[in-house]
């Protein structure tokens, strides 16, 4: 009686229900497309084709997915400890400083595989530092993390404008960005990975940070379900009073969890900065921190769910851009609406169809039992 819903088989729980939610989201999105007088099937074609139709398109989709894996994992880690980290945006932004410093320092003298590890450490360090303060404020002062992380997003934004216009900008340049990095500050593309499947990556910036994202996903799984710290985090997330009883320090876990979360968000900066633009620009995060919340929600805060959810959102970003290109009456904003619908149905309303499906399965179960009985008789 603890949960009003009976248990469903795994494939229904983690496969069928998300798929149904997704299908409904797309159906409603189709209606919206119809409303502005366009053909939803055509839009669907452009979406899918734009996301997967060519090696280059797929490369872009996976490039975006890489970003969202990092920010999705960041939100998920905090969530397991019962913390709602809305500050992925700011943590990723500040994480960029670590990447930029490593690249500016060594790009002309060292190869990428020397710069990359340093940039990873740098991004994780700066991201963690930016999340440390809200974590510490909650642990010691009781300031709610949702509020402080949102405020820290704004502070990060101002800080970065200052740095990019006054400090990190090369002399004489007009643009608020660092100088372009030499070869040592650019990550190799994963063209060979797509080539295995006979695809040509073209100009897509799909790069080795994708592999790092997969490694990070595995490490998060290890952390949450296989380490003592993860055990403590989950205990606190489910029941703070049980954590206190067990002698776990709430403030210590809060601070450490937030730093891990911030480090993951910070590592997101590697992908656009070293993987695509070879420089740090203003606003390079572009809302990925917030998309991470949707990705974590959809992926049920489990790495195995976050990766496909991130690919889905990568597809929406890349394919959505394609739609607005091919069908001018569907603007960028429409794409945002579609993304919103996906979040709505897959995240916020994820339980909408569950009772009906549960009943369907219960009925089927009964029928099976009856059949078994009559056979037995």
């Amino acid at each position: 009686m603890s949960s009003p819903y009976a248990k469903l088989p795994g494939w229904v729980e983690y496969g069928l229900i998300p798929l149904i939610n997704l299908a409904v989201a797309f159906l409603v999105a189709g209606l919206v497309v119809l409303l502005v007088g366009e053909n939803p099937l055509e839009a669907a074609y452009h979406l899918l084709n734009g996301a997967f139709g060519r090696g280059e398109y797929l490369g872009f989709t996976l490039y975006y997915a890489t970003t969202f894996i990092f920010t999705g994992l960041a939100v998920a880690v905090a969530f397991h400890a019962g913390l709602f980290n809305i500050g992925g945006e700011g943590q990723a932004y500040v994480g960029g400083i670590g990447v930029a410093l490593a690249c500016l320092w060594l790009d002309q003298t060292m190869p990428w595989f020397v710069v990359f590890p340093l940039a990873i450490l740098g991004s994780a360090f700066f991201g963690a530092a930016w999340a440390f303060l809200p974590g510490w404020l909650q642990a010691k002062r009781g300031s709610h993390i949702v509020i402080t992380t949102i405020m820290f997003n704004f502070i990060a934004s101002s800080l970065m404008v200052y740095l990019l216009t006054r400090v990190l900008k090369p002399l004489g340049s007009m643009a608020p960005q660092t100088r372009t990095f030499a070869e040592g500050g650019q990550l190799p593309k994963l063209d060979w990975l797509l080539a295995i499947f006979g695809l040509d990556i073209g100009t897509a910036p799909f790069n080795v940070s994708f592999l790092l994202a997969l490694v990070a996903a595995f490490c998060v799984w290890l952390l949450i379900w296989r380490t003592k710290l993860g055990y403590e985090m989950r205990t606190m997330g489910h029941s703070p009073s049980a954590a206190r009883y067990a002698g776990m320090s709430e403030s210590r876990i809060t601070v450490i969890t937030m730093m891990i979360s911030g480090a993951l968000a910070g590592m997101m900066a590697l992908n656009p900065i070293m993987g695509e633009q070879a420089r740090m620009q203003l606003d390079f995060v572009q809302g990925a921190g917030f998309v991470g919340i949707a990705v974590a929600l959809m992926g049920r805060s489990h790495p195995a769910g976050i990766i496909p959810a991130a690919v889905l959102f990568g597809m929406l970003y890349q394919g959505g851009a394609e739609i607005s290109f091919e069908m001018p009456s569907i603007s960028r904003d429409m794409i945002v609406i579609i993304q919103g619908l996906v979040i709505l149905f897959a995240g916020a309303l994820e339980n909408m169809f569950r009772p009906a499906i549960t009943r369907l399965f219960a009925m089927q179960g009964r029928r099976a039992a009856v059949v078994a009985q009559t056979k037995g008789a």
């Binding site: 009686m1 380490t227 055990y231 403590e232 009883y245 067990a246 002698g247």
Partner: protein
């Protein structure tokens, strides 16, 4: 009188491999109080959840007043005149009594009209069944006994003729329980039918007309209460003879293990809950703390075990101080030999969403046995859990099952096994047998006494006077935060009752 209010025919229900209800047949006569008893995990709650539409039976039929009805959800159950009072109340904490009672049964779109009508109806129900509550009181400010009354009113407001109560007295003080029984008698005299699940055979004998016994998913017997005895029922439940009061030899108290000196504890609002309490606990003895719930026993346990900060006073564990007024660290206290079975297993002692084996290490997760560096040693954890499950007969014996899916009594055994099996010097234990069946009570009591005989010091808090008297070597009575008296276990119930009510105590303190 011989009308059947509810008939269950061939109800069957499995949860995966667990066969919770096996071909259950049951007839409940109209206008009677029908008890259902059975061991932990026998399937009582499951059966009632099927009747109330929370679960669907795999097969079988439900007849209400002789007519077959399909109860697909609680709404259908309410429509069929069935109401349920849950063990864990389902009330909106910050709503008033009236708002809670109306919730989901608002008669009119215009709330004001509905409220006025509901108020009138509520008054009528209160009068008819002697169920006074202030309709404008906010739920969270009411004691549990009154909250339960609201649940009953809620069911009656929805015109329930049949009322199911699942372990209603587990959370009540004896006085509150008495009042509940008077209400149930009243309902019965008005022609309502009551189904009562409880582990307390005394209650069954006192109030029911008939009683049905379940064992391992089966309905094994139905008896007319007047023609049976506590011993027979206990034997039917467990399938063997049960010692209702375990044998216990003389205590051989040794060194002082826990010394509490002038301890004072306040709650969050600054109200003094424990007032200048001092006592000693020696190795090899069981000290029981009796008292009506809410007289400071909970806060005393929490302060000693390092969960709640005390205002003043000191506690020595094995002669060394516990920082009760500072940052006592519960895990350090565990290392120093203090184990704690908390009163509230659902929110404190267990994480219901964890697998059983994850709960089996809660608080002991620093133990090197369970770790490989920073990683958990899953194999060792599961192996230990399996061993505990076997020793304590925890059912079903699956360390990977989610804790919420164990029945209440088995959840309690998970906590007890974890805290007792490491052989601590001092065991503090709150409500050890709340919601636990007679067979398991016998087991737990024997175990506690065994531990005492091996030299463990046990501090026991229980609202069950029977339990205190059966186990304790010395009884301290708490009233309004103070220890108002110390008695031997052969003190009469009446004597202890007066102390607990604060009557005797005041005289004694004055002398």
């Amino acid at each position: 009188m011989d009308d059947i209010a509810i008939e269950l025919r061939g109800i069957d229900k499995s949860f995966g491999p667990v066969h919770a209800n096996k071909n259950i047949n049951l007839k409940v006569r109209k206008g009677t109080i029908h008890g259902i008893i059975g061991e932990n995990g026998a399937g009582k709650s499951t059966l009632m959840s099927i009747l109330y539409g929370f679960y669907q039976a795999d097969s079988g039929e439900i007849l209400v007043d002789g007519k077959a009805v399909a109860i697909r959800d609680p709404n259908a159950a309410i429509a069929a005149g069935i109401g349920m009072v849950h063990q864990h109340f389902m009330l909106v904490e910050n709503f008033t009594v009236l708002e809670n009672i109306m919730l989901g049964a608002e008669d009119s779109q215009i709330l004001n009209k509905g409220i006025a009508k509901a108020r009138v109806e509520l008054k009528r129900l209160e009068r008819e069944y002697a169920l006074e509550v202030d309709p404008d009181a906010v739920i969270e400010e009411l004691p549990v006994g009154l909250q339960q009354r609201v649940e009953i009113l809620k069911a009656l407001y929805r015109r329930a003729d049949i009322l199911i109560l699942d372990e209603p007295t587990g959370v009540l003080t004896p006085a509150e329980a008495d009042h509940l029984f008077r209400v149930l008698e009243q309902l019965k005299s008005q022609g309502k039918t009551v189904i009562l699940i409880t582990h307390k055979l005394r209650e069954i004998m006192a109030i029911t007309d008939e009683v049905s016994v379940m064992r391992r998913g089966e309905m094994v017997a139905t008896r007319t209460t007047a023609e049976t005895s506590v011993e027979e029922l206990a034997e039917l439940m467990v399938g063997r003879r049960v010692l209702l009061r375990v044998e216990k030899g003389e205590a051989k108290p040794g060194d002082v293990k826990l010394a509490v000196e002038e301890l004072t504890v306040k709650d969050g609002r600054g109200v003094t809950m424990v007032d200048n309490v001092s006592f000693n606990l020696r190795a090899g003895e069981i000290v029981g703390i009796a008292g009506v719930a809410g007289n400071g026993q909970s806060e005393l346990l929490e302060a000693i075990s390092g969960i709640r900060r005390a205002v003043s006073g000191s506690v020595l564990l094995n002669g060394k101080p516990i920082e009760v007024t500072g940052h006592a660290d519960p895990s350090e206290l565990r290392d120093r030999g203090l184990a704690h079975v908390p009163e509230d297993r659902h929110h404190v002692g267990l994480v219901l969403k964890f697998e059983e084996c994850e709960n089996a290490i809660l608080g002991y997760h620093h133990d090197k046995r369970y770790l490989n560096g920073v990683f958990l040693n899953i194999d060792a954890i599961r192996k230990d859990a399996e061993q505990r499950i076997a020793e304590y007969d925890i059912r079903p014996p699956n360390p990977r099952l989610k804790t919420a899916n164990f029945s209440g009594g088995n959840q309690q055994k998970i906590v007890l096994a974890r805290e007792m099996e490491r052989g601590p010097d001092v065991l503090i234990i709150g409500q050890p047998t709340r919601g636990v069946d007679v067979g398991a009570i016998e087991f737990i009591h024997k175990r506690i006494i065994e531990m005492r005989d091996q030299g463990m010091a046990v501090l026991l808090v229980s609202v069950e006077l029977d339990e205190i008297r059966a186990l304790s070597d010395r009884i301290l009575v708490m009233f309004a935060g103070r220890v108002v008296g110390e008695r031997n276990p052969d003190a009469t119930e009446g004597e202890l009752g007066l102390l607990m009510a604060g009557v005797e105590g005041r005289k004694e303190a004055a002398e």
